[in-house]
Symmetry: C2
Subunit: 183 residues, 2 copies
């Protein structure tokens, strides 16, 4: 399978991607220092993505924002229970309860080459399944002390290969690591 | 008080400073890739330090290594209970159950200008007391999934100021942040 799975996400220095209630106020507050037009590589990354895979919590958060931000990009929402997808999104958003490996195999069979894996729990399940190839993490200069974590328990250590760091002069630091896929 | 408190520590990408049992095997394994003589700035940092303040768990770990690594540097071990300090260390190592602010005030009164705060729980208590000025964190390219965390719960957000990043070509990335002290 020549398909890659990447993570592209912002965290606090203590590793949180959202507050306990999903709140992103800290990220928005930090974003006030970001110059207009600076997206820390997000648009270029998204352009390389064929399908976005997210968890239910992330989907709910995105829906709460009022405006669908992914244009025509195909999105799969992983959820063990039924979710309601508004009619205007049904052509590009689907729900699935597949296991990560099954989903990746299916999307690869459909021709996808690059998946964007989003949401803490989904990222953790893909990491544990040995399915993540690249981690691109933008560290925001704040400590939150609690919230929803990017990383969780693992079945074993995952050794990474450092790829690159981008430092933004407003204080964000973006790292890229590669994960060695099991042979 | 013109005294500064700094953290200088290595963590996994998921924020652990040791395994649950205090194990540093992952750090030693990663260290195999570090060229001889490269200390990621540790000696220069230590040279700037007047007193090292550590927690009981860190002290026990250091003692277990068999060789005291801090030469003549004064060390204070924070512990709520009595600890046994070997006779040959008693001239430079002392135990204290002081609160962070009281300890910093006393050491400042003794003329100390720069404290090295080490150990997860001690770092967390100093952060919560608003006593940390600088965080120098060396991120090791591995995910552990569990262990002892560098950061813990906070009484509120702590906004940081990004200072610098050092990238080492063996894959370690060292960040420096400053914490704005409450006025």
């Amino acid at each position: 399978m020549s398909i890659r799975c990447s993570v592209f996400i912002a965290t606090s220095l203590d590793g949180f991607i959202a507050r306990d209630d999903g709140g992103l106020d800290w990220l928005n507050a930090a974003g006030a220092a970001v110059p207009a037009g600076e997206d820390c590589g997000y648009a270029a990354f998204m352009k390389s993505v064929d399908v976005l895979v997210m968890g239910r919590l992330t989907f709910d958060k995105v829906m709460s924002l009022g405006k669908w931000p992914y244009d025509e990009k195909p999105v799969v929402v992983l959820s063990g229970s039924a979710i309601e997808i508004p009619g205007e999104l049904q052509a590009r958003v689907s729900a699935s309860s597949e296991k990560p490996a099954d989903l990746v195999r299916r999307l690869s069979g459909d021709g996808a080459k690059h998946l964007y894996i989003d949401g803490g729990l989904v990222i953790q399940s893909f990491l544990n399944a040995g399915l993540i190839d690249a981690l691109i993490i933008t560290v925001v200069p704040v400590l939150l002390g609690s919230g929803r974590r990017l990383f969780g328990p693992l079945e074993g250590d995952i050794v990474l290969t450092y790829v690159a760091t981008n430092v933004y002069d407003f204080g964000f630091v973006q790292h890229e690591y590669q994960v060695a896929r099991p042979a």
